[in-house]
Amino acid sequence: MRAHQNPSKNTIKLSCKNIWKVYGDDPDQFFTSGNGAVANAHAHADQITKDNHIVANADVSFDVHVGEIFVIMGLSGSGKSTIVRCLSRLVEPTAGEVMLDGEDLLRKTESELIEIRRHKMGMVFQSFGLLPHLNVIDNIAFPLKLQGVAENERYAQAERVIELVGLQGRENNFPKELSGGQQQRVGIARSLAVEPDVWFLDEPFSALDPLIRKQMQDEFLRIQSVLHKSIVFITHDFHEALRIADRMAIMRDGGIVQIGRPVDLIMRPVDDYVREFTRDVPWESILRAADIVESHQGSVSGMKKISGDTLIESLLPYLAEHESGVAVEDENGAIMGVVTARGVVAALAAGCDVDIADADTAD
């Protein structure tokens, strides 16, 4: 399910280039014909702020590949919600370009857009956005109803997604009769009812308490392992990002600071802002076997074989008992090398080093 395993990983599903979103009296004055490619984005953003406008997004560019989970992180007010709304055109970008399946989304007419939303896009909201007057099944079937799908058919489809999110038996309840976690399951089911390709989730689990959140993340990963959507997922919780991201972007003041795999961000943060996010990361839960594999001479026969994708965390009990370690295979089954207890300890120690060095510079 991970991008680097996915055969179609190079197909770009959704991409945005030089997106700007400026709020204020006359945002258009800062751009010539909606062109967001400016020489110095920072200086330009400062200029706009000086002119009493609010820069919600500044020069944001990234691609989302087919079947990939792309996570956007950042502090409150850093422009995460705005960028995802620009991608779905709930908010009209002031400048820039959004391409969906190679077509310019910003050129679509209102009715084309409705069609796209009816068939290609789904979105999940932080506070669920459920319709209070409809029960669970009607909420989930709502997008289909808007399309004019017949009642039997849309209930059948709704039942399928209800099963997918595990809400059987609650079909006739109203939103306010459900717990937060259940309500968000309804939100997820509704966004999946039209079988979209692109799935936007704006802090879907932030309103839930930690235990439920963990459970919902597992659920989400399970659903994704079945459906293989292209996903833009927003969170301000780095642990959540780590658990689910294939790639992630960190935002600050409306702009993107760094994009990469979670491991890249941890190992090579571009600045202190990113390092701050990665500060107390549990290394064992992000490092994978492939990241710390050591080359190995000789036979690996008799050793346990694992995929390069395996989290170190899950190896710890086994390594504690087997001095020689485990053999690591790549996707094609070729041996990459071994992971040993000593190697793991060294890698974790290196992680601590980063922390200590960081603490020193902070003083």
Binding site: S88, L131, H133, F142, N172, R190
Partner: protein, 690 residues
């Protein structure tokens, strides 16, 4: 705290000095005392001419509308009269049951039986048919404007102030132009009640649609809703509760206006029944008919508010066809059954006259007995209030104190003593609280000594303008000056002062007592539980009805009007007082308790100052309620603007009535803006929002 001499204080002392000078010289300069008649701008003539021209040009259109609208009213009336009372009662009870449950259904049954047995059925149905037409119209019109205002900011900027004016112009003043345009007939009541009842619908529609959470709208858009689908399937259902609240308020407004409109007469409805019996001093009859109105108001209120709360408890999917249409089926079956029954038993068709029963006679006798036996007490209450409060406020201690009233003559010593005492109190207030309170005391002392109606108009103009400036700023000050100036140049200033005098006493008493009760209720759940239903009932009660008991005991006059105004206007003071104290930030109270506040310190130094902005909104509402009642009170013989409106109405003098109506609206709007501004200012200072 040492006396702080700042700019604000200097301004006010200046104002007071000017006022005293004005008072001193008004004997010599006649235009100071009364605005010269020769300078009165004949606005009312102009308005009459304008209206005449308008009627000449467009009158035919309005008459056509009137005849057009007469038909549906006649139709509904015909249906309500043709149906046996037992069938109507059954249907009303069914609706009550659906909206609210068994208890309301039984109450409705009881009310219906009351109406039938006492013989008010026909009159009640006449009123009801007006409401039945005007409410749907008001809902439709209000909804359309509300949606328009929601989508267009520009429309909202026009709609909102218009609603403000429609709701502050006294109800009577509406009737005048409508009467002139549409001519005598039932349509007047309909149009007036439409105009009066659609504003709350507009407001609630806008508020409701605004209040739909943005994520719900976005989720609708992302579900692929077209704009029309987004409105009807996402926004509307989510806002439905608030919108239905608008329906509730529109219904209540409509009923109260239908009742008020009956003063133009000739309608044979229940409002007319009350009014004509009051005029004939048949108090038993009037209170019995008043109870009918109260019943109608209560039931309509419960039904519409019941529907509003129900809309939030969405019904589960009905499985069977019968279950889905069960109420229609029950209604049809019941109607047929009771129709047949009415055919068999004539008393169900029409209640026989000789079975009608009215306790009016006994009540009248009882009342006479009370009035005769307790005349001394009643008179002394009246005299006490009149001599010691009302008269001084109206004409000042200076004239009110005489051997006849207070038992001694006002001599120079007394006046000097009064002056010294008041100045001393003011100084004490300045030390204890602040300069504003002290200024208030001084102004009050002057008002009370010379009398509101004796103060020279330039001085009052100055005082109000400066006050407006201090609480809000130059805009409101200019507005106040222009508004009050209008009252002066149109020559209605003396009447305005008479209205102001009555209204101010009532408002001050209502506000003080109401707030005190509110504070009590905030600290005591039992008091709160007792007060709430009383408040609810008073608020749904049409203004007319409140008047009756006071007229019975105290006859017509200022004192009766005063009591009626107090009875009506202390409700918001209680409400806001309790609400303000009950919704204080928890953290502040805990912190205050932790630093060792005693209970009374907590109340006076923490809670009340923090709750003051909310209480000021209560004052605002108290004033608005007071002014509304003031106009109705004109019916029981007060002088002032209300009376002038009434005279204009009965003489068909559009200009005179309208000027007085506008005058009341001006006073209401100025009072409204000043209290709102003050509340906002305090809120900003405290960093809270209500």
């Amino acid at each position: 705290m040492p006396l702080k001499i700042d700019r604000g204080l200097m301004h006010w002392l200046g104002v007071i000095a000017v006022t005293l000078v004005c008072i001193a010289i008004q004997g010599d300069i006649s235009w100071m005392k009364a605005y010269p008649k020769s300078l009165v701008v004949p606005f009312s003539d102009w308005m009459n001419t304008g209206m005449q021209w308008f009627i000449d040009q467009f009158g035919a259109i309005f008459l056509a509308i009137a005849t057009l609208l007469e038909w549906p009213i006649k139709g509904v009336q015909w249906v309500l009269h043709a149906l046996p009372w037992i069938v109507c009662t059954f249907l009303f009870c069914l609706v009550s049951y659906i909206a609210s449950g068994w208890r309301l259904a039984i109450f409705t049954l009881f009310a219906a039986l009351y109406i039938v047995v006492l013989g008010y059925w026909d009159e009640s149905m006449n009123s009801l048919s007006l409401v039945a037409i005007s409410v749907p119209l008001a809902i439709f019109v209000g909804f359309v404007f509300g949606v328009w205002g929601f989508y267009s900011d520009r429309a909202e900027r026009i709609i909102m102030p218009t609603l403000d004016i429609l709701q502050t112009v006294p109800a009577f003043a509406y009737l005048l132009p409508i009467l002139m345009l549409f001519g005598f007939g039932t349509t007047v009541g309909l149009i007036a009640s439409l105009l009066y009842s659609f504003p709350p619908m507009v407001r609630n529609t806008i508020v409701g649609l605004r209040g739909v959470p943005s994520e719900i709208v976005e989720s609708g858009i992302m579900s692929g809703a077209t704009p029309a689908q987004l409105f009807w399937q996402v926004r509307m259902p989510t806002a439905s509760k608030q919108i239905l609240l608008g329906v509730n308020q529109a219904t209540m407004a409509s009923l109260s206006m239908v009742i008020i409109a009956s003063i133009i007469g000739g309608t044979a409805d229940i409002g007319w029944e009350v009014l004509s019996t009051i005029r004939k001093a048949q108090f038993g009859e009037s209170i019995l008919a008043g109870i009918v109105i109260a019943f109608m108001a209560m039931i309509m209120d419960r039904i519409t508010s019941g529907l509003a709360t129900q809309s939030a408890e969405y019904n589960r999917k009905q499985q069977t066809l019968f279950a889905r249409y069960r109420y229609w089926i029950i209604a049809a079956a019941g109607t047929v059954t009771f129709l047949l029954l009415a055919k068999l038993i004539p008393a169900f068709q029409e209640w026989p006259r000789d079975l009608q029963f009215s306790p009016a006679k006994i009540m009248n006798e009882g009342l006479t007995y009370v009035v005769v036996n307790f005349r001394e007490e009643i008179e002394s209450i009246k005299k006490f209030a009149f001599f010691y409060f009302m008269l001084p406020t109206k004409i000042g201690l200076q004239q009110a104190v005489s051997p006849f009233t207070w038992g001694f003559e006002l001599k120079l010593v007394h006046s000097l003593g009064y002056a010294v005492m008041m100045v001393a109190i003011a100084c004490w207030c300045a030390r204890r609280w602040n300069n504003q309170v002290a200024i208030g005391v001084l102004l009050f002392a002057i008002f009370f000594y010379f009398g509101l109606t004796n103060l020279p108009w330039p001085a009052l103009l100055l005082i109000y303008t400066v006050a407006a400036w201090k609480v809000s700023g130059p805009y409101l000050a200019v507005g106040t000056l222009l508004g009050l100036g209008f009252l002066v140049v149109t020559g209605v200033w003396p009447q305005a002062m008479l209205s102001l005098y009555l209204c101010s006493i009532a408002v001050i008493i209502s506000f003080l007592f109401g707030t005190a009760i509110g504070i009590w209720a905030a600290h005591n759940d039992r008091v709160s539980a007792i007060v709430r239903p009383i408040n609810d009932t008073m608020q749904t009660m049409p203004l007319f009805v409140i008047l009756i008991p006071f007229v019975m005991l105290f006859k017509i006059g200022d004192f009766t009007a005063l009591l009626a105004i107090i009875a009506y206007s202390f409700v918001p003071a209680i409400r806001y007082g309790e609400h303000g104290l009950r919704n204080l930030p928890e953290g502040v109270l805990e912190a205050a308790t932790m630093v060792g506040c005693t209970k009374s310190q907590l109340l006076w130094q923490v809670k009340i100052p923090l709750a003051l902005p909310v209480m000021m909104l209560g004052l605002n509402q108290t004033i608005m309620y007071g002014i509304a009642m003031l106009v109705i009170a004109a019916l029981v013989g007060t002088n002032g603007l209300g009376q002038t409106v009434y005279i204009g109405l009965s003489d068909g003098d559009f200009g005179v009535g309208m000027i007085a109506g506008i005058g009341m609206a001006i006073i209401a709007i100025i009072a409204d803006r000043m209290t709102q501004a003050w509340s906002k200012k305090r809120q900003a200072e405290l960093g809270i929002s209500v």
